[in-house]
Amino acid sequence: MGDSTDQVLSPREGTAAVIDHQERVDEPLLRLHDVVKHFPVRSGARLGRHGREVVRAVDHVSLDLQRGETLGLVGETGCGKSTLGRVALRLLDLTSGSVNFDGTDLSRLSDRRLLPYRRQMQMIFQDPYGSLNGRRRVGSIIGDPFAIHGVESRSARRQSVQELMELVGLNPEHYNRFPAEFSGGQRQRIGVARALALHPKLIVCDEPVSALDVSIQAQIVNLLAGLQREFGLTYLFISHDLSVVRHLCDRIAVMYLGQIVEIGPVSEVAVNPRHPYTAALLSAVPVPDPDAAARATPVVLTGDLPSPIDPPTGCRFHPRCPRAQDLCRVEAPALQIRLGPDAAHLAACHFPLANGERLDGAQGPSSDRATALLVESLRQSAQALVGDLDAAPQLPADLASEVLSPDGQGAEPPDAESVVPLPGEPEPAPARKVQMRSPWSLAFQRLRHDRASIVSAGVILSIVLFAILAPVIASLTGHGVLEQFPTIGLTPDGLPKGPSATFLLGTDDLGRDLLVRLAYGAQISLMVGVLATALTVFVGAIVGLISGYFSGLVDTVFARVMDVMLAIPFLLFAISLASVVSVTPLHFGPVTIGPGISIVVIVIGIFSWATVARIVRGQVIAIRNREFVEAARALGARSWRIILFDVLPNVMPTIIVYTTLLIPVSIVSEAALSYLGVGVQPPTADWGQMIAEAQGYYQQAWWFLTFPSAALILTTLAFNILGDGIRDAIDPRGTDFRG
């Protein structure tokens, strides 16, 4: 660590960048001035509380980030660290204040104008599972920045991506794998490679190691440190782990309830904290020296973290501060030099601790001794964390350990990861079977082993064949679909005839061959089922995607339309539409709607797209907040690109499942409309209509009612079972495929 500003020149950057850099070298890379970020909250069911409440996630923060330095941002959960990081990258709009990056004020720039700056600032996320789109191959994920900014030709891209993979310690041959086939640490390397692709100047690391095993943490921290040396990166390193921060950072900023309460060089803040909150945080960090441990009893903060909606008056820390006095309750302390010689060390406290003073007020051991102890303990904990520091910089050797970890871990990466093989262990032969298994092929594999689904698929196939072969059946039996056989097809009383060699399934009330009519009826059912579903899913998916992704006005309008559609009694409207049509064709401008199959398809489509839209919207809203979408935004991807490449593949499973489950619904809807006499009109053969006609004959001709009913039930049942099977195959319980 230490001062690496003299190494900022990346071997990959052009001379222009060098000059540019040297001109502004004295100016901070990032300057946050009086940044405020409030989130409006919908005032919940709190009675009597009207007006708009806001979460004061970041409240008047000013901060400078020097080129090449690493600033650690620490604080309890919910204090606003991530929000500050996102504001700094302009992934969030500011409530007020300004963000100045490399001499440009970004705070009011539109997304389009921000695009060039997105190349220069990047983000590494906490969740190695959530920050990568599980449905895309690693090569495409890492290549995303190139694609978005169109900086490399398609062919050159692969090479660059593989270089990046090598740089971060991944095996470039794993280019075509899916994230699920990597361990947590390796995924984090993927995230690092993606962030690095466009040679950014600034990287915000939002708890990049806290989701990892301790042993893996060290490797990632070392990787980040090494990359910083190599490329002169500037890091804003968010963490709640003080030992990691102490190891990696040049300066520390401590946040409490949306504000920075102390900031200064690591050596200062970690050894001589001025702010009682910092001291309390530090006292909770384990110290290896038993002597020191005995003295440094952890200060337990009393009380809960107050709500950022309604922060305490005066100093926000006062309800929990052991040193609080009356002044603290009324007057908010400013962030300034309170004590000590170092102008770079600021604290926001009316009664800061003195050099070496302990939080409980008692004087510690001589401050020199305390410092020596702390430094020693720091060194030890750092060593425990990252191994021998002096040896650390040899990145490739260090990284080898993880690169070489066994390959068969695709199934259970987290477990495989706890065993880190020794460096130098030869790479095991790659296990063939895990190569390039997309989530889709996994799902397909599972489906193939589901007997019920296979049988259903077989049944569906038979019905399709039955429908296709209807004309063949008609010619084989010699009975046309509309052909009536008043003599041989009806009893002397004029009733339908039962199954016989001539009429395999019997006849209907007009003496027509039931088998032939069933086959033609299957055509109608399947055709309407598929067409209506396609219409429904197409419209529903588009509306759901748009409405879910763009919050705000668009969403509100669409959501209301969906509510309205869902609240309209579908069948009645379908009936009225069909009924008017049967009286007189409708004319809407150039469109004329007359009776027939098309009206049935349209009616079903119009009234059921909202269901699909609602479900897709719900999923999109969940996905929109996932880290990989944020990662895409951080790269500067346009909305349509994110929707198409990141969101759609993740809602596709749902869409497919719903499509399978909607087909039977559409088939039943069509049959119901025809049963009621407003669907397909006689004499066209149709299952619903046949059931309606048979209803008058159930006492005399069981076959007339039974066969069409059975055909209908069998079809819907088969589709439903297959739909269930597909759903289980795509999202089997227990394996979180969303991760």
């Binding site: 309205v564 009694p569 009286v583 049963y675 209803q695 039930i713 819907t716 319980r733």
Partner: protein, 321 residues
């Protein structure tokens, strides 16, 4: 709470307004200027009736005047006039509504009880024989159209039983509650059953998956680990959380039934709203259809509103948006 209700009511009004708009489009605009009056007059109406209708509905005026007239008539509670049968649509609907209401009021508790209990059982004992049975049966009924199930119920439970001398279930038809509560219930048993079985199947599936999700949550495990009795874990902790999607679905379903019991009413010959609508279609009696659509939509809106209120009362944390 008040804001929440205001929002929901506003939504209801919006829905109703959209309904009137769509109805107007379908019936007053769609047929084309010359044909509206003729279509509304019904079959074989004399030209004098057609002319009367055109005058009454201001059909010679611009569409927005017509719509304004249409809307103001509705707001005054006038659903229109059935020229074909020379009867006010209000009267026709007033007679039909209790029938539909009877159908829903009996079927809803049945299907909710069937569906939720079997779903809970299936989720609590996954892969057991009971689960497999419930899931299989649910799938079967879920795949069976109401009209098929209804016809089959009539065939087996009414016809076959009666033929063999066991006349428990009456022939399709309706007996008003005011006339004889017992006969009312008896006449409605089969329709209730048909409706409940088909809908319960959906609720079994919904409850099962929702419960399985919730049972996997940490707090349920914590409750179990703390030694909370299993029954309490299931019904107090898990079911409560799992109930949300079920309540929402119930709101939609009950609402839609006010218009969508069409099929059950048709199969069992119950002269409710749906039946009236279907018969109006066969008679090409459009004014009645308009009336039924508007009233049924109002029923849907009201049902959704009631569910929303219940929701807010039951769960004070309800997300108000």
């Amino acid at each position: 709470m008040i804001r929440f209700l205001a929002r929901r009511i506003a939504l209801g009004v919006l829905v109703m307004w959209c309904v009137t708009l769509v109805v107007f489009l379908i019936f007053y605009v769609g047929p084309g200027a010359g044909d509206v009056a003729r279509a509304l007059a019904g079959r074989e109406a004399p030209p004098s009736t057609v002319a009367l209708i055109a005058r009454n509905l201001l059909l010679d005026r611009p569409w927005y005047v017509q719509y304004g007239h249409f809307l103001s008539q509705l707001l005054h509670g006038n659903l229109g006039y059935d020229y074909y049968n020379s009867e006010s649509v209000n009267t026709i609907i007033a007679q039909a509504f209790p029938v539909t209401f009877s159908l829903i009021i009996g079927a809803a508790p049945l299907w909710l009880a069937f569906g939720i209990l079997s779903g809970v059982y299936s989720a609590v004992r996954p892969r057991s024989l009971g689960d497999r049975t419930f899931t299989g049966v649910a799938l079967l009924f879920y795949s069976t159209p109401t009209f098929v199930l209804g016809v089959l119920l009539i065939l087996v439970l009414y016809y076959e039983l009666t033929v063999h001398g066991v006349s428990i279930f009456p022939a399709p038809g309706y007996v008003p509650f005011t006339q004889s509560p017992l006969q009312w219930a008896r006449a409605l048993i089969l329709p209730w059953l048909a409706l409940a079985l088909v809908l319960a199947a959906a609720y079994t599936r919904l409850t099962r998956s929702s419960m399985l999700d919730v049972l996997g949550e940490d707090y349920v495990r914590t409750a179990r680990a703390k030694g909370v009795p299993e029954r309490r874990v299931i019904f107090r902790h898990a079911l409560r959380a799992a109930l949300n999607p079920i309540v929402t679905q119930a709101g939609i379903d009950i609402g839609v039934l006010f218009g969508g019991a069409v099929i059950t009413e048709q199969v069992f010959d119950l002269p409710g709203l749906g039946w009236v609508a279907v018969h109006a279609i066969q008679e090409q009696d459009l004014p009645v259809i308009i009336g039924v659509v508007v009233v049924a939509s109002a029923g849907v809106v009201a049902a959704n509103l009631i569910v929303d209120i219940l929701y807010a009362v039951l769960d004070p944390r309800v997300r108000l948006h």
